[in-house]
Every structure is written in structure tokens, then in C-alpha cells.
Amino acid sequence: MSEMVKMHAVQAINAALHEAMAADDKVLVLGEDVGDKEGGGITGITSGLSTKFGDDRVKSTPIAEQAIMGAAIGAAMAGYKVVAEIMMMNFTTVAMDMIVNHAAKLRFMSGGQTSVPIVIRTLTGAGWQTAGQHSDFLEGWFAHVAGIKVVCPAFPADYKGLMLSCIQDPDPCIFVEAGGTFFIPNDVPDDQGPIPLGKANVVQEGTDVTIVTWSAQTIRTMAAAEAIAEAGISAEIIDLRTISPWDKETVLASVEKTGRLLVAHEASRNFGPGGEIAATVSEELFGKLKAPVKRLGGPTCAVPFAKNLETAFIVQPEDIVAAVKEIMA
């Protein structure tokens, strides 16, 4: 039996990086401020790595996102497994050419001769008044690109297990860390190993309605669970964990059982990943649905600064309760 250890996401990712670097000297870390001299990352996720594994394997970089991604891609093509940090998810836009045109496509365009085993670690999430250029959830953008896996954990054990899997994966993974999930301590088995990519986690079983969610929205959905139960509704809550490839099998099996689906995510609703999931369920299970599929997501605006506007941007637990009641009506 493994012992449970209380840790939060930052500690869980840090533990995964320590384990992976100790197990395989081909694992490298780079990014702005990742070295211990620079504080081990802005949230301390890479803390201790450069002291333990040396400045050659843990490299602090200039503020130059294209150069960071290029260095990660090149080293990965030469046989290394590179965990590259793009400090905030909005800054991936500065390196989009390297990520979308190169990292994601080099295996295909080379006919399988080269591979780019990199993990792009990046932080985002509304709720911290970081506003328009530091809060965007862009998981839908990356999920649309062939050749890149998109991972959005919510709980510390998943952060650790999914990070271990991303590092071992032979292809590029974007690993989205949500500030809203970071400092909530939770149980992590002391021997937590890799958790397979592309597998959802049914965090609560239910029979009336399926709620599909991920990342910080999972935390907010769990906060709604009690009120939903009190309303006499049995909700099955699925934390997708991996957005691309997403676990269709688990979602379809659940909706087949409940006949109802709500997708809730933090990114803007329009053209968001919820659309893909809703469309797939509609195509596959049209005759079995007891209510129209519903999506919740942010409005079509930048994440605002003012606290009241930011709160209104985020899909709150009460929005989820209201949407579930509407579906059941």
C-alpha cells in the first residue's frame, strides 16, 4: 500500500521533475528563470533542479520564447527529452511558429524520421487579476493542431502522474498549469507513477447528467456538486485531464448512461473545446439524448482586470448549478 502524502500542485510537478531527471540524464529543463540562481521559477516549480542536476541540464534562458522553443526542439531532435517552460500561456503566442509549424509537424513532415519529445510547461488561469495578457486558456488552439498533445490537470496527483507521462511521451505535449489549482493541498500517493495521457478521470459518479470539465474548472465544478446533489440531481463529473487526444470513450459511455451533457470550461465559450465535445456527443448519441447538450464558458472578451468583471467572466459554481437545473427541467 502506498502512503498518501499531502502536497499541492507546485510540489507535485517539482517532484515529477526531480524524479524524471534523476531517472534519465537525457531529461533537460529550460526556460526563463528556471535555475536556482533565478529563484527556481516564478512559482518555485523548478526549485532545486539546477542545484541537483547542474546548470548544463537546467538552463535559465533570456526572455526569448522563439529561442527557448527552438532550443527545446533541436535538443529533442538530437535525442534529449526537454521540459521547456513558457512562463505564461499567453506568451506561447510569441513562439507559435516554433510550436505549431515545427514541434507539432516535424515528425509528420519528415515521414517519421525525426521526433520532438518536448513538454511545454505553461501557467495560466483567470482569478488572479492578471487580466488580458496573462490569463488566457488557449487549450482549444493547441488541440486544433495535429501532432501536439494538450494536458490540463486539476489535482496534485494528476499533475505529477501526467507530467511523468508527458516527459516519457515521444511527441510534443503542452502541459497547462492553472494558477487556480496550485495551492490546494491534496493526497498524492508517495509512489505516484505516470498516469496515461488521453484518459479522463470520473471524479464523481452519477446517473442524471454528465458534466465534462478540466483544470481549474474541475475545482469549481466540485464546489457545485453539493448544491446539485441537494437539488436531488445525480451528476457524473468527468475531469477530462487531457484535452487532445480526449477520452471520447469515457464521455460517450457516461452520456449514454445519463442522457444529458454539460461541458464547462474556463476558456471563452465560442469556438472553445466544448464545441468539439458537444458536437461529438450529438453525432454519436443523438437519439439517446434527453435534453440538448449545453456548454458553459467565458464570454467573448479578453479576461478583464476589475475583480467584479473577472468574477463574471469565470464560470462559477452557481452557474454550473443553474445550468444543470436547466438541463434537468
Binding site: 533537460l28 548544463d56 541540464r57 538552463k59 534562458t61 533570456p62 526569448a64 522563439q66 529561442a67 522553443m69 527552438g70 532550443a71 527545446a72 526542439i73 533541436g74 535538443a75 529533442a76 531532435m77 538530437a78 535525442g79 534529449y80 526537454v82 511558429d97 516554433m98 509549424n101 515545427h102 509537424k105 516535424l106 515528425r107 509528420f108 513532415m109 519528415s110 515521414g111 517519421g112 524520421q113 525525426t114 521526433s115 495535429a146 501532432g147 498533445k149 515521444p170 511527441d171
Partner: protein, 331 residues
């Protein structure tokens, strides 16, 4: 052009080797254009005719371990580096025997066996990736060097500046080789670039930078030799701006009205390929007969490669789902 003290001079065998690589590039391109005219190859083709001295001289100093990242105008760089012509042709034709099973094409060719790691269709993108390969070479404790080929237009995109800064900071074994053919697509050099010599930009990144006569094998030989030695010795990157001229416009089919008739005629009159041939004979490095034999051999190799490539099968449709990830995507 910049002078190097104690500049090494090419010996006979060096010059003959450089010429052989140049001729292989030129004869191959000639056959490509003929096949395009006959409708046997259908693709955008970016000729580097006139620029052959640059990769031929660089490649003279490279071994199979050394790597290059090149660009859509990069077939000359691959041929100079030694890519086998049969899979090259099959790739140009989009066939299954191509280097990339027909899935990359002329603009995205890869052949790691001969050190051709990336060919990119995005201006400026060869450089950040070359840095990563250079970082890996350092971590491996190897002596291999990485060449990032690009054009003058690419020196204006952010990736150039980010890459030179990082390469210098980390003392990477990367040589930034700019073929300055004086046109960025259709835009004249001086209308797109604020500095009169790209090599001057090296100063801002604390690395040696030289403007070299990219059509002169002696000048290229001296600078390529020094830069590669420097990289192998762990002393860091070099920027080489190699002055040249492309004879055939940005892409085959453009009417190159943005060039003046005079400058084009002058450049073509100074074509480095026949000039080197004449020199080899007049200086006694090779005989007419040897060079004719060399040409016949290359032409035969190109013909065989052409026939092989054009006769290869199209890739099967299940290739759409293969190589997206390491594991095959379920249908």
C-alpha cells in the same frame, strides 16, 4: 570583404571537391527545372542558381555527424551536404520512396542520416532549432557543428536576433550562414534591411561576423574553415554573411521585374560555376578531360535519380494517419 590573417588557401583537391559539389547542385537543378517544364514535378521551386559556392565550400569542411538546418531555398544545401539524389527526387515528386515518404516535399525535407535535420518553409526558423541541436552537441561532448542556413530577409525577423543572442551567450557550436542574394522575396536588400551589412549585426551579440564574397571559393574557404574550427574548439558561434546573387527570381515562374536587367546580366556574366571550372583548368588543378568525366558521371547519377523518383509510387492514403504521433491514430 573582410580579411583574415593567415587565411588558409584551398589546395587543388579542395577546389575540385568544391567544384564537384557545385556542379552536382547545378546539374540536379537543371534536371528539376526540365521535369517541371514537362509537368512531371508540380511544386513551388525556389532556385538558388548562382549561390552554389556557399554550401559547397561549407560542406567541404563538414562530416556526416555535422548537421544543417536549412530553408525552402535549400536544395543546394542538401545536395552539397551529400543527400542521396534518389530519395531526394522521390520526395520532390511526392512519392513513397522520398526522404519523407512524400509528406514533406521540397520545402520540408529531412534526412538525418546525412545530417539534414530540418528544412523550413518559414523565413528565419532554421536558426532557433539549430541552436537546440548545437546545445545537444555540447551536452553530448561531441565536436559536431551545426549550420543554420538562411537568407538576407530572415535577418529581419525576431528569431534571428533571439538565436544569435542565445548562441553567443551559451557558446553554441552553430554557424549562422546567410546567403545574401540581395533580395528578400521581391524586396531589394536596402528597402528591407536598415544596416548595410548583416555581418555588423554580429557585434550586437558579441560574436564574430564577416561579410564574405560568397561567390569566391578562396574567401569562402578561409572564412568557413575559421568558423568551423572555432565552433569545434568550443569557442562559440560565427555569423557569415555570404554575398551572392540568385539568377532565377524568388520562385520559378516569377518574372523577376524587381531586378534590373543590368545587375542580372552582370551577375550571370560572373557566374561562379564556369568561372571555377576555367580556373581549375588554367591553374592546373584539373584537366578538361577530368572535368568532362566528372560532369558525365554526375549527369548519369542525376538521370538515374530522376527516373527512380518519378517512377516511385504515390504514398498510400493511410499515411494521412501515420507519423502524426509516434503511435498511429485510430481510424
Amino acid at each position: 570583404m573582410a580579411e583574415l590573417s593567415n587565411a588558409p588557401k584551398p589546395a587543388s583537391e579542395d577546389l575540385v571537391d568544391i567544384y564537384r559539389r557545385m556542379l552536382r547542385i547545378e546539374r540536379n537543378e537543371d534536371a528539376v527545372l526540365a521535369s517541371m517544364r514537362r509537368g512531371r514535378l508540380t511544386m513551388p521551386y525556389y532556385s538558388a542558381r548562382g549561390q552554389e559556392v556557399i554550401p559547397s565550400t561549407i560542406s567541404h569542411f563538414l562530416n556526416d555527424e555535422d548537421q544543417i538546418c536549412t530553408i525552402y531555398r535549400g536544395i543546394q544545401d542538401m545536395v552539397a551536404k551529400g543527400i542521396p539524389l534518389k530519395p531526394l527526387w522521390a520526395e520532390l515528386a511526392g512519392r513513397v520512396d522520398g526522404t519523407c515518404k512524400g509528406k514533406g516535399g521540397a520545402m520540408h525535407m529531412t534526412h538525418p542520416e546525412t545530417g539534414i535535420m530540418v528544412t523550413t518553409g518559414i523565413v528565419g526558423s532554421s536558426m532557433p532549432i539549430a541552436n537546440g541541436l548545437g546545445w545537444a552537441a555540447k551536452l553530448d561532448g561531441s565536436k559536431r557543428v551545426v549550420i543554420a542556413y538562411f537568407g538576407d530577409g530572415a535577418s529581419n525577423i525576431g528569431a534571428f536576433h533571439e538565436s544569435l543572442n542565445m548562441a553567443s551567450l551559451w557558446k553554441l557550436p552553430v554557424i549562422f550562414v546567410c546567403a545574401n542574394n540581395r533580395f528578400a522575396e521581391h524586396t531589394r536588400y536596402e528597402d528591407g534591411t536598415a544596416v548595410d551589412q548583416i555581418s555588423k549585426r554580429a557585434v550586437g551579440y558579441n560574436m564574430p561576423g564577416f561579410t564574405v564574397d560568397g561567390n569566391d571559393p578562396d574567401d569562402m574557404f578561409a572564412h568557413a574553415s575559421a568558423a568551423i574550427q572555432r565552433a569545434r574548439a568550443g569557442e562559440g558561434p560565427t555569423l557569415l554573411e555570404c554575398m551572392t546573387f540568385r539568377f532565377r527570381g524568388h520562385v520559378i515562374g516569377d518574372d523577376d521585374k524587381y531586378m534590373t536587367k543590368e545587375e542580372k546580366e552582370a551577375a550571370m556574366a560572373a557566374d561562379p560555376l564556369p568561372a571555377l571550372r576555367a580556373r581549375l583548368v588554367s591553374e592546373g588543378h584539373a584537366t578538361e578531360e577530368e572535368l568532362t568525366n566528372m560532369q558525365e558521371k554526375i549527369e548519369k547519377e542525376v538521370e538515374e535519380a530522376r527516373d527512380f523518383g518519378l517512377e516511385s509510387e504515390l504514398p498510400s492514403l493511410d499515411e494521412l494517419r501515420r507519423d502524426v504521433f509516434a503511435e498511429e491514430i485510430p481510424a
